[in-house]
Symmetry: C2
Subunit: 358 residues, 2 copies
Amino acid sequence: MPRVKSRSETVSIAQLAKHLGLSEGTVSRALNNYPDIAKKTIARVRKAADELGYRPSTTARRLARGVVETIGFVLPARHGHQIDPFLAEILDGLATELALSDWDLLVAAVPDGHDEVEVMDRLIRSGKVGGFVVARTRRNDPRVDFLRKSHVPFVVQGRTAKSDDYAWLDIDNEKAFIDAMNHLVGLGHRKIAYLGGDPDLNYAWQRREGFLSAAKAHGCDVPSGYVFDNITDEMAARRAVTELLKHPDRPTALLCVTDAVAIGAIHALAHAGIEVGSEISVIGFDGLPMGEAIHPGLTTMSQASYQIGREVGRIVVAQANVPASELSQILWEASLTIRGSANPPAQKSVTNAKGGIS
Amino acid sequence: MPRVKSRSETVSIAQLAKHLGLSEGTVSRALNNYPDIAKKTIARVRKAADELGYRPSTTARRLARGVVETIGFVLPARHGHQIDPFLAEILDGLATELALSDWDLLVAAVPDGHDEVEVMDRLIRSGKVGGFVVARTRRNDPRVDFLRKSHVPFVVQGRTAKSDDYAWLDIDNEKAFIDAMNHLVGLGHRKIAYLGGDPDLNYAWQRREGFLSAAKAHGCDVPSGYVFDNITDEMAARRAVTELLKHPDRPTALLCVTDAVAIGAIHALAHAGIEVGSEISVIGFDGLPMGEAIHPGLTTMSQASYQIGREVGRIVVAQANVPASELSQILWEASLTIRGSANPPAQKSVTNAKGGIS
DNA sequence: ACGCTATCCGAAAGCGGTTTCGGTTGTCAA
DNA sequence: TTGACAACCGAAACCGCTTTCGGATAGCGT
C-alpha cells in the first residue's frame, strides 16, 4: 500500500494560513463567513485563497463536518443490454442540478451476484453518499423499503404502491393514459388495444390502469386478446402486433406503454403492410426524439425527463439541508404531442367491408 | 451550518476496537492484512467486524491514506438536447468495472457559463476524484491537454490528433470505414456518398479519412456534392439526402458516420419513396439496437460500447495503482453487422435507364 | 534459569479541515 | 483613569482511520 499522494500539487489551509500570517482556524472561519471575523480580514483571505488557487479538501471537510454532499444513483441491473434513454436524461438533469448546489453525483452499478439494496447499503455505511435518488420503481420496491428504514434523505422518481411516507416525483401516468384514450376516442376510435410493459414496474401498472378505466368510462369494449403485458422489447411488440392482426375484431388503435414499444409496433405494422395512422393508429409514451424521426411521426405523451432529473435533484438536496422538512410529493402531467401516427379511424365502409353484414 | 451527522447509526473503528479489547491500530492493521498481526487475531477481528456491520469510513480512510479511489466523468456539455446512447452504455460499463475494484464513479455536469476543463480542475483540486475518463474527444481537445499537465491518471476513450503520450482506447475508425467501403465495393457499388459528422470530433474525422482513402484505393470517383459534414441530427440527414437525390450522378450507396445519421437517412429515403437496400444501400456505425428494429435492418459497423466502458475502467484503475506503468494504447476493431440495408446495386439496366444513352 | 530473537500489539502522530472556547485588544461611558 | 463590552483572532480538540515505531511477551536454545 504505497502512498501515492501528490500532496505537493495542492495548497493546504496550513500553507494559506502561514502565507497570510493567520491561524488555520481563522482562515477557515473567514472562508466560511463566520460573523466574528473582520470584514477586511475576510476579504484579504478570500483574495489570497484564490490567488493561490486554494480549494479545501472535500475529504477533510467531510470528516470534520460529518456530512457528505454526494447523492447516489444505482443503475438498475441491466436486464436487457441497453440503458434506457429515459434514465440517461434523468442522470443528466440530476448531475446538472446537483452541480449548482455543489453536490456530487455518485453512479454505481450492481455487480453480478449482488443486489441493489446491498449496493446501497454499502454506499451508506461506508459514508460514500449522503442521499439517494432512485428511479424505475416497482410497485413494491425493496429499495424504497430499505431507504425508508435507513436515515438518509432520498427522493424517488416514480412511486410504489404505498407512497405516502416518502418524497417522490412522478408523472401522472394514469391521467396521461386517460388523456391518450380521450384523444383516441375523440378521434372516433372505439376498438383500442393496449400494449403494456412489466406490471411490476409501477409506471406500467398505472398506465394500464389508466387505459382500463378510460375504456370503461367511454364504454369501449376491451375484448380478450386486446391487452398485452410484458412487452419489453421490439420482438415482443412484433409478436403482439401479429396476434392483434389476427384478432377477429381487429382494433383500430394501439395504445403503447412506451415509445420504444410503439416504434416496435409501428415497424411490425409497416412490415405487415398496414398503413399506420390511417388503417391503424398508434400512440406511445415518452417523447423520445426518435418518435419525431420515424414515419409517420409518433403521437405520444411526452415527459420532460431532463427536467424531472433536475427537479428530483433539487428536492433531494433541499431535503438533505432541512432534514425535518415536509416531504415533497409531486405529480407532473405528461403532455400530448400530436404527430402523424394517430388519426381518425378508417371510414365505416371499410370496417364494414370486413366484418360487416349490412 | 448544523451538524447533521447520524453518527449513531454507524459503527466506528473505535467501537469495534473497544468491543474486541484491542487498540484501534491493531484492528486497522488486522483488517488490512498486515503481516504482523496473529492469524487468529485477524480472524477474530474479521468476525466481529461483520457481525457489527462495520464499514470503514471512506472519508477518514481517504484522508489518512491520501488517495481517492474515485474516477470522474464529465458529461459533455449538451449541445443538442439528448444524451448520446453510446455514452450511456460506456458509463454503464465503466461503473460496472469500477465496482469490481471498489472504485467509485463521479459523474459531473458542466453548469452554464463554465467549461469542462474548469469543472475537471475543481474536481481535482478539491480532491473529489483521483482519475478521469474522458470521451467524445475532439481532434484537439483542451481536456486532454489539461490532464496531460495535471498529474492524475486518466484514460481517453478515443484519441486526439496527437496521441502518443497518454493512455487511450479507441476504435479503429479509419479501418472500420475502409472495411465498410470494401463491403460496399464488394457488393458492386462504385458511386458512394458520405454523410459525416462534426470533423472536430476525432472519430468523425477518422471515419471520413477512412472513407476517402478507401474510395481512392478503389478508384471510386467522389464527385463534389458526395461528401457531407456536420450531419448531427435527423434533420440534417434529411436535407443531405434530399440534395443527394437531386445530384446529377445519384449515388447507389450511402455511408454514414453514425447509426443515428443512417437511420435519419433511411427515413428520408423512405419518405422520398426510394427503396432502401435495393435502390440505395445504407451503412451506419455504432450497432445501436435500434438498427435491428427498423425496416430494413441497418447494416452497420458495430462497436461494443459497454465493453469499451469496462476496458477503459480497467485501464484507469490499473494506471492509478501502478502510476509509472506503461501507457495502454489500445485499438479495437469494429465488426461488420450485415442486415438488409446494404445490398448489390440495382442492375445496370436500371442505372442506364436513367442516365444511359446506349 | 538466562538472554535473545521473533511475534504481536499499543501508543501516538498524522491526514486537512472545522468549531468551540477563551484571551487580547480597542473603544467608550462613567 | 478605570471597567465593561464588543470585536477579533489563536489554541486546541476533534472527525475516523492509517502507519510508524518501539515495547512487551513468548518461545527457544544453552
